[in-house]
Amino acid sequence: MKKSHIIGIIVIALAIGIIMSTAGDASTYVSFGEAIERAQDGDDTKVHVVGRLKKDPQGHIVGMQYDPLVDPNYFTFTLVDTNRYEQRVVYYQPKPQDFERSEQVVITGNIQNNVFVADKILLKCPSKYVEKEVTASL
């Protein structure tokens, strides 16, 4: 067999390995229900959950707590997922400043001790700016 064929086979094997590993590392969008099931099964992989903030009839956000003067690295809020399941979420970072204005929130993390511990929050805001942020970088 020619050396170039052996290399070709190795490259293809590596490419397949990359695809497998990407599939393994890829996260999924789930509901809180599924996130809780995963936690009960002892599966601590991180998932994405899409939801909206819990609001009272007047449109005020309910269940949000951030007091930087006590602990600047503790932010908690209640998120309602697409199945209308309400879940308390904890984020060990300062509160994102435009949080209240967001229409939709995407969080990444997992359920630990009955709370969802988020390590990333992505906000979808109605403003035109957020959608076209950093335009010129490409």
Partner: protein, 863 residues
């Protein structure tokens, strides 16, 4: 008045550019038919050139009209309104130009025109290439100009014009129903994050890189088309170098901008927008290597075809990813969706299908050799290097495309909920780190084999010195960093040690080649220089990301909850104004808010600025000084650069050094808090600081407490000792026009704070028979002092005090060791590339050559 003329002229220019591109494309196609070429009939070519020049002139005209709309603040046009504003300086108007999709397409189109003309002009020696190469160029221009065509036929929309009037863009807005001639007074402005000098030069550089990838692609296609399977490599090679260096610099400019302006704490975030450009760059660099190997050994021609074509197609794919809106939730950094996704997809699909079909059709005819490569031939290792580059690119591509799989599966009716990896940094690092190690080793080994006689003994001689030195230095660094704490890092992680050895070896091996070439011909050493640059970049990434250290750990013991006390990093610290906090070896304190004033260097304390009705103007409350020089006297009207930008003075003090940083934050009505870091650069590290949260603008004041005092009295105000010195009549009150008969009196108080004494001058005035009170706020102490009453008979005065919570910020500070090496490496790599372009260009006319350059490559690990 609405000026519709200029928009009409612009739109007509777009149409001319579009039609001229079609004509040029057709005429160049006709000119490159074998019959025409053989007959020496130049009429088709003359026509094609004329059409391309008309196209170029029209593109310049479009740019002129669009810039005029922005420059003259013609807010009747949607583009000016949504990207610019009255207060924007000219250099940021340039950034407005390419903030929108249309403008950035225009930039891209412009560079194609510039490169096309360069090819026509400088390709005179070898006229056979002009027609087929420019046919591809013009064909691409048809697609690109169609993106800004803005033609709507029924429901079918072709392109999005930048010359749309407000009333046509916002047909639903009631104001245009009432008055179609309404012109907004001001624009909505440029995204504040883009108001940065890098954003003036980064996009043109990046788009020049985009445009330059078309040149080797066009040569490759021309080679396939005309059956010149081997000749295309020589003219395409210097252009490939040019594309790679410009694209590389463009990417790194973007990385530096992100480092300086955004606050994710680094220069690379594995955001799809960044990845989308990184992938074609890797493949292009791989293509350069196979082309160079082909020039020397006549092997690897098919691979060169594949990689050159792939790099251009990946540029189109990058455009599709970032501009079609397909990334959705996956990226915060993409363009607004203009509904062009169908058109973008057509563009991508057309070129992919045509290029691949042509390649497949000609595949059997591409010459190849049956000669087997030996393990001690340089070309063998160069090919392995190119394969590693492509695999690294493939890995990023496979992950970045996850949102595309979702859309595609959704399109054919399968629901998919795959998301990007939760920990992207770990995911990408897992592969890219090893790719970096492989590249570093291969670049050393490959270069040594390339320049030395390729056999076992001479290779052993060549590798001994660099390898011994590498191992020696590595052992020294490991011992010094672990046992003697000489550095700010401990090199003890085996993976990091491997990368360190590999990169150091690459540097030393390539240095030994440069030393060898010094005696022969230095101009050949471009490859070695570029490889040193890449290896230095790897070292810079290793230290700045691998050993990045958050020094703002919250050690106050005050925690809200102890649900997960151990696992969570608490990376942000609360700083009360003027209360120092220990961070690492530093005493860090926050001293207040500052702003930029026109004509005054540095920053001016906000307490010295009395706001006026115009947010861009303020009145000086005291002498405005910078150093010892007084720039403005009390009462002068000052102009502010940007009133929303507040700089928070944070001082760092330690035994060795002390410095002051001004991290910026802007509370934007649309985007919330936009925090940008301030960075102190040291030779061995950067100290990176940004605010994460700030005290609310609206303060809650406590109850008013009244005090009755006489001149000279001492009182206690909220724990501070204060002296009431007396009162004086004043003739000027900032922000108020005093007329005859009006009286203004100010109290003079001195309050002893923790750090210094403060003077407060609250004003009481009688204006038009009414009493007016102008209280003075001392932000440092959280006090507001009001001069309430004068009892002239008894010479006693009444003052009122409100107290509030002191001002605070929440801060994050990170040490990044040796990040400088990354930037230095970038510059060295670019120098190496330029040396190689000069050399390859000189060779253009000469016969075949024997030398080459190999594997530059860059890996960026997340910060």
């Amino acid at each position: 008045m609405i000026n519709t003329l200029i928009g009409d002229l612009g739109h007509v220019s777009v149409i001319i550019a579009f039609v001229a591109a079609i004509v040029a494309s057709y005429a160049y196609f006709m000119a490159s038919r074998p019959a025409v070429e053989a007959s020496a009939d130049t009429s088709w070519r003359t026509m094609a050139r004329a059409a391309f020049y008309v196209h170029g002139a029209a593109v310049v005209a479009i740019i002129f009209f669009l810039f005029n709309i922005i420059y003259e603040h013609r807010y009747e046009y949607h583009y000016a309104w949504s990207h610019s504003s009255n207060h924007l300086p000219v250099y940021y108007m340039i950034s407005c130009f390419w903030e929108g999709q249309e403008g950035s397409f225009l930039l891209w189109v412009f560079w194609h025109v510039a490169l096309g003309i360069a090819l026509i002009k400088f390709g005179k020696k070898n006229k056979t290439w002009e027609a087929p190469v420019m046919a591809t160029f013009s064909f691409v221009q048809i697609f690109l100009t169609s993106m800004i065509l803005g033609v709507v036929i029924g429901d079918f929309k072709l392109g999005s014009s930048p010359f749309i009037l407000m009333r046509d863009a916002m047909t639903d807005a009631p104001v245009f129903k009432m008055d179609p001639n309404f012109v907004p007074k001001d624009g909505t402005g440029l995204n504040p994050l883009l108001q940065n000098y890098w954003m003036v030069i980064h996009p043109p550089t990046l788009f020049l890189g985009f445009a330059a990838t078309l040149v080797p692609f066009a040569f490759a296609i021309a080679g396939l088309w005309k059956g010149k399977f081997t000749e295309w490599v020589k003219p395409a090679l210097p252009w490939s170098h040019f594309a790679a260096v410009v694209l590389g610099i463009g990417i790194m400019m973007g990385a530096y901008w992100a480092y300086e302006t955004l606050n994710f704490g680094g220069y690379w975030n594995w955001d799809p927008v960044e990845n989308a450009v990184y992938i074609p760059w890797l493949v292009l660099v791989g293509a350069i290597h196979t082309m160079i190997a082909y020039k020397r050994s006549k092997q690897g021609l098919s691979a060169s075809f594949i990689l050159v074509i792939a790099s251009f197609l990946l540029i189109l794919y990058a455009t599709f990813l970032t501009r079609s809106g397909i990334l959705g939730n996956a990226s915060v950094h993409s363009f607004t969706d203009l509904g062009l996704s169908g058109q973008l997809f057509t563009y991508l699909a057309a070129f992919t299908v045509l290029a691949i079909a042509l390649l497949v059709y000609r595949w059997k005819q591409i010459p190849s050799t049956e000669k087997e490569l030996t393990t001690y031939s340089a070309e063998f290792w160069v090919f392995i290097g190119a394969a590693v580059l492509c695999l690294a690119g493939f890995q990023v591509l496979a992950t970045t495309s996850i949102p595309v799989y979702n859309s595609f599966l959704g399109f054919i009716g399968i629901e998919s909920n795959a998301a990007l990896p939760a920990d992207q940094i770990a995911h990408y690092t897992k592969f890219q780190l090893w790719a970096g190690i492989a590249i570093a080793i291969l670049s050393g080994v490959g270069q040594l084999l390339w320049w030395k006689k390729a056999n076992k003994t001479s290779f052993k001689d060549a590798i001994t010195v660099p390898l011994m030195l590498t191992l020696l230095i590595t052992s020294l660094v490991i011992i010094l960093s672990n046992k003697f704490d000489v550095f700010s890092f401990k090199l003890d992680n085996p993976v990091y040690i491997t990368l360190f050895i590999a990169a150091l070896f690459a540097v030393l091996a390539n240095l030994s080649i440069i030393f060898g070439l010094l005696q022969k011909k230095v101009s050949l050493s471009g490859g070695a220089v570029a490889h040193i640059g890449v290896a230095l970049m790897l070292l810079g990434i290793l230290f700045s990301s691998g050993y990045s250290n958050i020094i703002s750990q919250n050690n106050s013991g005050l925690l809200y909850s102890r649900e997960f006390p151990d696992e969570i990093n608490r990376d942000n610290v609360l700083l009360w104004r003027n209360t120092p906090v220990e961070m690492g070896k530093y005493q860090v304190s926050y001293h207040g808010r500052f702003q930029e004033v026109k004509g005054v260097p540095g920053y001016v304390n906000q307490e010295l600025l009395f706001p006026t009705d115009d947010p861009y103007k303020a009145i000086a409350r005291g002498a405005i000084k910078a150093g010892d020089k007084v720039y403005h006297e009390t009462g002068d009207t000052l102009e502010l650069h940007s009133p929303e930008n507040i700089y928070y003075e944070v001082s760092y003090e330690s035994l060795d050094d002390s410095f002051v940083l001004y991290p910026r934050a802007q509370t934007n009505p649309n985007m919330g808090l936009l925090a940008s870091p301030d960075i102190e650069h040291f030779f061995t590290k950067d100290l990176y600081t940004h605010v994460s949260s700030i005290a609310p603008e609206e303060k809650e004041w406590g109850e008013l407490k009244e005090y009755e005092v006489a001149a000279g009295d001492t009182i206690i105000l909220n724990d501070y000792v204060a002296v009431f010195n007396g009162i004086e009549r004043i003739s000027q009150v900032p922000g108020v026009q005093l007329k005859a008969g009006d009286v203004a009196v100010q109290a003079d108080m001195k309050i002893m704070g923790e750090r210094k004494n403060y003077h407060a001058h609250p004003v009481l005035m009688i204006k038009d028979g009414m009493m007016g009170l102008l209280p003075e706020t001392i932000e440092d102490l959280g006090l507001r002092i009001t001069f309430m009453h004068i009892d002239t008979e008894k010479s006693r005065f009444k003052i009122g005090i409100n107290a509030t919570q002191k001002d605070w910020i929440i801060l994050k500070a990170i040490e990044k060791p040796f990040v400088n090496i990354l930037w230095i490496g970038t510059i060295i790599m670019s120098v190496g590339f330029v040396m190689a372009i000069v050399r390859r260009n000189k060779e253009g006319g000469k016969g075949s050559d024997q030398k080459g350059k190999s594997i530059p490559r860059r890996k960026v690990q997340a910060a």
